[in-house]
C-alpha cells in the first residue's frame, strides 16, 4: 500500500509512505479436532466392508477439507501400500461413486496382505485444508 500525503496552499508537496497488507485466508490457519476412529476387521472372503468415520471438526467450519490416509504394519511399523485393498472417499462432494463420503471401503481378495492368518494395519487418517493438516486419527484394521 502506498499512502500519499499532499500538503500545501498555493504550492503543494507530497510524500509517500508504504506498508504491506497481508490478506489472510482464514482456512490457512484452520484448526482441527480429531474425532476417535473405531478399529475395523475385514475378512478377506467378504465382498467388501465400509467404514464411515465421523468427520474431523474444522474451525472455521466453512473451510473445505479433504482426507487422506497412510498405513503401516502394526507389528513392525513398516509402511504398507493398501491402495489395492482400501478405497477412501476423502472428498466430501456427495458424488455417486462408491464409497460414500468419509467412508473407507475395504475390498480385496489378495491374501498377500496377510502373512499368516491375519495381519493388523494401523491406518492414519489426516484431514487437510488450504495447506493445513490435522493431527492424524488412527484406527487398526485387522485383516
Amino acid at each position: 500500500m502506498t499512502v500519499t500525503a499532499t500538503a500545501g496552499t498555493t504550492l503543494e508537496s507530497t510524500v509517500e509512505l508504504k506498508f504491506l497488507v497481508t490478506i489472510v485466508d482464514p482456512c490457512s490457519r484452520a484448526t482441527f479436532t480429531v474425532n476417535t476412529l473405531v478399529d475395523q476387521t475385514y475378512v478377506l472372503s467378504d465382498p467388501f466392508k465400509d467404514y464411515t468415520y465421523t468427520p474431523f471438526t474444522v474451525d472455521p467450519a466453512y473451510c473445505p477439507v479433504t482426507y487422506s490416509y497412510t498405513a503401516v504394519v502394526k507389528s513392525s511399523g513398516v509402511a504398507a501400500d493398501l491402495s489395492t485393498a482400501v478405497t477412501l472417499d476423502g472428498l466430501p462432494d456427495t458424488d455417486a461413486v462408491a464409497p460414500d463420503d468419509w467412508t473407507f471401503r475395504f475390498e480385496t481378495a489378495n491374501h498377500d496382505l496377510i502373512l499368516g492368518y491375519e495381519e493388523t494395519y494401523t491406518i492414519s487418517l489426516v484431514a487437510t485444508t488450504t495447506g493445513v493438516n490435522s493431527n492424524p486419527g488412527t484406527f487398526d484394521l485387522l485383516v
Binding site: 499512502v3 500525503a5 500538503a7
Partner: protein
Amino acid sequence: MLRQLKGAYVFPAFTSDIAYCPFDYTYSVLPASPIIKSVVVDFDGTIDGDAVAPDDYQFTWFNMDVNYAGTYTITVTGSLGASEQTFDTASFELKLIHPCEVATLTADASIFEVSHPRGPAKNIAWTIDARVTSDIEVGVVCGPIIVEFIKDPDTPEVAIDADVFTDTRTGAPSMSFDIETVDFLKVGTYPMIMRAYYQNYSLVVHTDQFTVTITDPCAPPTWESPLPTLVDQEYILLAAGKTYSVLSDFTSIQIPSFCPMSLDYIAVKDGDTANPDKFASLITFDGTLDSGATDGVFKFEELVDF
C-alpha cells in the same frame, strides 16, 4: 537659539533732520518676565565706538538656560538732545528658541524589517533609546519621546493590523513588537512606519519606513527526515474489521504541522504494478483530514473474494 553661539543683530541707526545730533539708544522688552534684559540680551546703544562688546547699535544674546525660551518684543528708543524730549521708537521680535524645538530626531526601524512565516510568533525586542536618537545636547531635557507604529501608506492613518502585530509596551522601557498569525489570508507584505516625536515638541518628528513580510511556510511545506516506517498489517478475511491509523505518521513529519493536508492511497496486489487499485470493497480510508475521528484511518473488513 539658546545654548548656541551668541546671536547678534545690528539695528539700523535712527536718523533726524539734524544729522550731527547724536542719538542715545535704550531698549525695553516685553514681556518683562522673565527678565532677559542684560541677562540674555546685551546692547550697546551708546554710539561711542568703544571696544567693549557689543558693538554700537548691536544687540547680542546668549544664555545657557532654556527657560528663557520665548518670543520677546524689543523696543528700541532713540533719543536726541540733552533732555531727550525728542525721541522715536522701533521694535523687533527676538525669538529665543528652545533647542528641543529644533532638535533632530532620527528613528531607525531597520530591526523591524523582517520576513517571518505565519505560524510561530516572533518577538522583536526594542527600546526607544536604541531606536531613536536625538541631536540634542546632553543636559537639555526635551521630555519623553513617543514612538508609534502606523500602517503605511494609508491616508488617513490606519493602525497596524492587530491580527498580526502587537505593540507590547508592558515592559517599558523594554518593549516588544510581536508578529504572529496562522491565517493564510494574512500572508503578504505590510509596509509600516515608525514615527518618533517629542511629546512636548510634536513638530520634532521623524519617521522611518519598514516592511514586514509574512510568508507562507505551507507553499509548500517540507517533510522531516527520516521518514517514519509504517507498520505492515495483516487482516484475516471474514474477521472483524481491522483499523490502522497513519495520521500521526504524516502529521508528525510535516513542517509546519498546520498546513492543509490530504491523504490518499493506492494498492498493488501480489506485485501486479500494472493494475494498481484501491480494492475499495475491502479497504476503506478517510483521507480527508477534517478533524474527524476516522481521519487517516484505514479499515480492512470482510471480503471473501479478495
